[in-house]
């Protein structure tokens, strides 16, 4: 069965013509229409309604996180090409004058800036770890989180956004608790996406680790089947991952000094949904006219 659109550019043209997205001067950066945001908010509420850990704290994160916490994630080692570092001006009046001079002459005015104490958020769960208790309780730490994420990547595919929101169900605890969390969420996530009329394939996947060093990380991640992606066909060109189920082993437990009752580094897992991508997948699957979507899907999303 062929995908709704032949190429990413066809889908891009369609959603722009329908006014669902408004293009900016930069690929991967779009404004969203009110209707698109309504569907996305409905999706967010619907995903939240699938929670099984009703006592887990729910947190909405800002689009930035402290630089020191970011560095503890090892993101720079793994994905230097995706990083969004924030620069700020801390100079004097004289330095401001020099900055404006460079700006006026078309020179590099950013040389007058310096790195801030924050970076753009690299992943939803990265904001969480530093706020967890160093000693993870025996029943594990759980959280339901949402936040903007930045990835410096772009192209004509409207599903490849530089700034987007993730909705995640996270657990930090023992290896058994973490794997159990991920593996119990996978069929639940598949069911909720299928209930919205999507037909995702669940595939072993890997993160886009950078360079030669990244090849080793990819090999390890695939070999251990740490990551599964939920992939839909929006275009014939390539599948689009709209959600992922991840087991991070003890990576964040080690880097954030989180331990379980036995004194070992805590293990982590999350079920993550891409809100903009899933919303785009819904428009691709059901058509660009929201009024014509199946009644049960509209009812589930409350729109």
């Amino acid at each position: 069965m062929s995908a709704p659109y032949a190429a990413p550019d066809d889908f891009r043209t369609a959603v722009l013509d329908a006014g669902l997205l408004v293009a900016s001067a930069v690929d991967g950066v779009y404004q969203l229409s009110g209707e698109f945001e309504d569907v996305l908010q409905g999706l967010q509420r619907h995903l939240g309604s699938q929670r099984v850990d009703h006592d887990a704290p729910r947190r909405w994160f800002p689009p930035v996180l402290p630089r020191a916490e970011f560095l503890r994630t090892d993101y720079v080692a793994s994905f230097p090409d995706l990083v969004g570092s924030v620069d700020v001006f801390r100079g004097s009046d004289a330095e401001h004058k020099a900055l404006l001079g460079d700006l006026e002459q078309g020179c590099d005015w950013t040389q007058h800036l310096e790195p801030a104490e924050i970076v753009l958020s690299s992943a939803g769960c990265h904001s969480l770890y530093a706020t967890l208790p160093a000693q993870i309780p025996d029943e594990a730490s759980r959280a339901e989180i949402c936040g903007f994420v930045f990835r410096h990547e772009s192209g004509p595919d409207p599903t490849r956004l530089q700034s987007f929101r993730m909705y995640e169900f996270v657990l930090v605890g023992t290896p058994e608790q973490a794997l159990g969390h991920r593996d119990s969420w996978m069929p639940r996530a598949l069911a909720v996406l299928e209930g919205l009329g999507l037909r995702p394939r669940v595939e072993v996947a890997h993160d886009p680790f950078f360079g030669r060093a990244g090849r080793m990380l990819v090999a390890g991640q695939v070999e251990a089947a740490l990551k599964y992606e939920f992939v839909v066909d929006i275009t014939d060109a390539t599948g689009t991952a709209i959600a992922s189920a991840n087991y991070q082993q003890d990576h964040f437990g080690r880097t954030f000094s989180l331990t379980t009752g036995d004194g070992q580094p805590a293990h982590g897992a999350c079920m993550a949904f891409g809100l903009e991508r899933t919303t785009l997948a819904l428009y691709a699957a059901h058509g660009l006219d929201l009024a014509a979507w199946p009644a049960d899907v509209r009812a589930a999303l409350g729109c």
Binding site: A213, G220, R254
Partner: protein, 87 residues
């Protein structure tokens, strides 16, 4: 075990001591012991790989950039031998 092999293994252990972040003393490990089981993370194994390249002035080809290549002192020694790197 030849002197050359002994030297290579000693240098590998030096690299591991600096970069593998093992939870056990590297000298207490047998050369066939699993380094990942001894606490080496995936990220640490990447650092070990890069440090070996610097130490022996070699470049591991893509087919050798796997978890298995860096799984033990013996495995690393075998990989280096395959690349013609000696003591």
């Amino acid at each position: 075990m030849s002197t050359e092999t002994t030297t290579t293994q000693a240098r590998i252990r030096d690299v591991l001591r600096l970069h593998a972040h093992l939870t056990k003393d590297v000298d207490a490990l047998d050369s066939s012991d699993d380094l990942y089981a001894a606490g080496m993370t995936s990220h640490a194994s990447v650092t070990v790989m890069l440090a070996c390249e610097d130490e022996w002035d070699v470049e591991f080809p893509q087919r050798m950039l796997t978890r298995t290549t860096f799984s033990s002192v013996d495995a690393i020694a075998a990989a280096l031998a395959e690349l013609g790197a000696t003591s």
